[in-house]
């Protein structure tokens, strides 16, 4: 068939762009790999030397490392849970006819445009602060004890702040998928006597599977390296309750200025990310096949 021939031709023409792309992507990774084998501290110039895998050993035996892995995963899963469930619920709601639908939708997507540092500062001091914050004021008005968010539920508080920023993204994608749902199919099911729950479970949800997968994949990429929100609110504390991998690497790079150690941390983060990616493909990747 002629197509095989043209395909080969196309591949040949377009190969340079793929190669360029791969090279472009590989530069930072290669540099990080190189620096991770050096003893290199910015604040001790002239002491650079090759140390092999020592930096990796150092990073992996950090007492905070285990907590950081657990916190990283908890943060990702927590935000995913909130945005997937909340996003689906919101999308179902926004799909209904209502007054002022356009404005409602605008209000809901707005948090996506707010810079993480700003949203963290606003949440910490203006909303969640146990004395000055709005939540504390509401709790007291209702006669309840205000919650000391960042001491009692530090990681949860951060999950809430991050989830707030990503909820609009999930909602938008799910809403788009929902609108493409064949309404005849749904109405036929309703005619057959299916209740709203079973319509949702057997018709709507399977239809949304691909959209949900996309949300999981994209959000995971960003959530694995959440960092600004933690720096602004808790600085990784109390204890290591909110130290994630990105924060640990930050401490290594911009507090210790230990470039070797931070590079090793970066490589470890990429390896971890690839493991997560493999899991993701195993678990949800099938949904991406058309």
């Amino acid at each position: 068939m002629a197509t095989t021939h043209t395909r080969a031709a196309a591949r040949l023409t377009l190969a340079p762009s793929v190669i360029l792309l791969l090279a472009w992507m590989a530069i930072p990774l290669a540099m990080t790999l190189y620096f991770s084998t050096l003893r290199y501290n910015l604040l001790m110039p002239g002491m650079e030397s090759y140390v092999g895998v020592e930096n990796y050993g150092w990073f992996l035996t950090d007492p905070a490392f285990k907590a950081a892995i657990v916190n990283t995963l908890t943060l990702v899963l927590g935000v995913l849970a909130i945005t997937l469930i909340g996003g689906t619920a919101l999308a179902l709601l926004l799909d209904q006819p209502m007054w002022g639908q356009g404005i409602v939708r605008l209000l809901v997507i707005a948090p996506f445009f707010v810079m993480p540092t700003v949203s963290a500062l606003v949440w910490k001091n203006m909303l969640m602060h146990p004395v000055n914050g709005l939540f504390a004021w509401i709790a007291q008005s209702l006669g309840m004890e205000p919650v000391d968010w960042f001491a009692e539920l530090p990681l949860f508080s951060i999950i809430v702040i991050v989830a707030w920023g990503w909820l609009p993204f999930a909602t938008l994608i799910i809403l788009t998928a929902l609108q493409s749902l064949d309404s005849e199919q749904r109405e036929a099911a309703e005619m057959d006597g299916a209740g709203p729950v079973s319509v949702f479970a057997y018709i709507t949800l399977p239809h949304l599977a691909r959209a949900l997968t996309v949300v999981v994949l994209i959000e995971t990429i960003f959530l694995l390296s959440v960092f600004a929100e933690i720096l602004v609110t808790t600085n990784g504390g109390p204890g290591t309750a909110t130290t994630n991998l990105a924060f640990l690497i930050y401490a290594q790079a911009l507090l210790q200025y230990d470039i070797g150690g931070a590079s090793a941390g970066g490589v470890i983060a990429v390896i971890l990310a690839n493991i997560v990616a493999v899991f993701l493909i195993r678990m949800v990747g099938k949904n991406l096949e058309s």
Binding site: P45, W149, A151, T234, N235, T240, Q252, L254, L255, Q256
Partner: protein
């Protein structure tokens, strides 16, 4: 409004291009009020020095620190003048990263600089940074609440008195907390406060062989005292409160006492911001009768990177910004109370300043009471009151601070916190080669 904005900015852009012939200094500085004022006085400087134009990079403290450190360490050359603290100056000067300031002019009068501050910026007899403003820490308290409780604050209180008074004043139903202290993890946040406090309890970070001392009884006493005090008499959320959170609480009238930076005095006595402006009294940071007080010493200072091609112009600027004339200029435009504090003896001898700043005397006494070269009861191999002037301290201080905040939040016990701190510190110091 937007059009006007664009117009103004375009105007500013054009104006700056006409100055293209002049030498441009890029100045990196912190976004604190005194520096913002300095930025506002740019025209006064350029009027005197038409050959020098100023370009400002004003950033939040943490971001500024990581920017200038990265840049100077890699010889990036992005800044001609850097704002750095008492922590960086000795380390950077030793590494040869800073230009010695020996060209500040005939009438600079370096002998007028407060000795404690000047010493902190000097390396091997040579000044490497000029202090822009200096601070120590002290007790700020509410005179009305103390009168109500029948208490009288001495000028130099002991920790026992502070603890007793704090517990007595606390009235949780009325949202009055006896004492507000830093709790947010970070080497410049809770670690700074607790380290300064530990000095007055006879504790120290390292012994003369750089062995960490968190397993000492003095540290246990310090941390137990701090945690118990805040649990009994501190505000909710203490473990995530830093300087600004406590400032807001104090200004809202929710703290009986607040032990923090002396520069806070001008904020809490400013009626435009503070609801308790006329009720604030000041006292020295507390002690435990061991000869050291729990107050720190810090000076935001201006320095020039070594190898800068604009060293001369940079020193001209630094000389102007840290001079007596600059203080007079600010006084003339914004009043004496807004002059950058804590750097020059002459300022504290000025009757106009004494009158405008009720906290002047106590600020000076606090600064004089701090000694970075001899901060602790037992001898130590390091310089610095609320920090240890070694490159490893930022990371180490933050990791230890996280343990302190966990103890305060009740997640772990004081013993556990100190044990982990000891492990972390031993590990870091071994890697860095201090412990052989």
């Amino acid at each position: 409004m937007f059009n006007r904005t664009v117009g103004l900015a375009l105007g500013a852009l054009l104006a700056s291009t006409t100055l293209a012939g002049a030498q441009t200094l890029t100045i990196a500085t912190v976004n604190n009020g005194d520096m913002i004022r300095m930025q506002g006085l740019t025209d006064a400087f350029t009027a005197q020095h038409p050959g020098i134009a100023l370009e400002w990079v004003t950033l939040e403290e943490n971001i500024l620190r990581q920017r200038v450190t990265t840049d100077i360490a890699t010889r990036g050359g992005q800044y001609d003048v850097m704002t750095i603290g008492t922590y960086e100056v000795p380390i950077w000067a030793k590494l040869g990263w800073l230009l010695p300031l020996n060209n500040l002019g005939e009438d600079y009068d370096a002998d007028d600089l407060l000795p404690a501050i000047r010493e902190g910026l000097t390396h091997e007899g040579q000044l490497y940074a000029a202090p822009f403003y200096g601070e120590s820490s002290m007790v700020m308290y509410r005179k009305d609440l103390f009168a109500e409780a029948g208490l009288e604050m001495p000028d130099a209180p002991s920790w026992d008195f502070i603890a007793e008074a704090a517990r007595k004043i606390t009235d949780r139903d009325a949202e009055i907390y006896g004492v507000c202290l830093r709790g947010k993890a970070g080497w410049g946040e809770n670690t700074a406060f607790i380290t300064a406090t530990a000095n007055s309890f006879g504790a120290r970070w390292f012994d003369m062989d750089w062995k960490p001392q968190f397993d000492s009884p003095e540290w246990k006493e310090t941390l137990t005292f701090y945690v118990d005090l805040l649990n009994d008499a501190g505000p909710a959320g203490a473990s995530s409160n830093g300087f600004n959170e406590n400032l807001a609480l104090f200004q809202q009238g929710k703290c009986g006492m607040w032990i923090d930076a002396t520069v806070a005095a001008s904020f809490v006595t400013n009626p435009a911001e503070s609801t308790v402006a006329d009720q604030v009294g000041f006292a020295l940071a507390p002690d435990n009768g061991l000869g050291k007080r729990g107050n720190w010493l810090w000076a935001w200072s201006l320095a020039v990177p070594a190898g800068s091609e604009k060293g001369e112009a940079a020193q001209t600027f630094i000389s102007w910004a840290t001079s007596k004339e600059y203080a007079e200029l600010v006084a003339e435009k914004e009043g004496w109370a807004n002059v950058p504090p804590g750097t020059r003896t002459s300022l504290y001898e000025n009757p106009a300043y004494q009158e405008a700043a009720p906290f002047a005397e106590m600020t000076l006494a606090s600064i004089k009471a701090a000694d970075p070269a001899d901060p602790t009861v037992d001898p130590v191999p390091y310089v610095g009151v609320q920090f240890v002037a070694i490159p490893e301290f930022q990371g180490l201080g933050t990791a230890v601070g996280q343990q302190f905040s966990a103890a305060l939040a009740g997640q772990i016990s004081v013993e556990q916190a100190l044990e982990t701190a000891q492990t972390i510190a031993t590990r870091e110091m071994t890697r860095a080669g201090y412990i052989k």
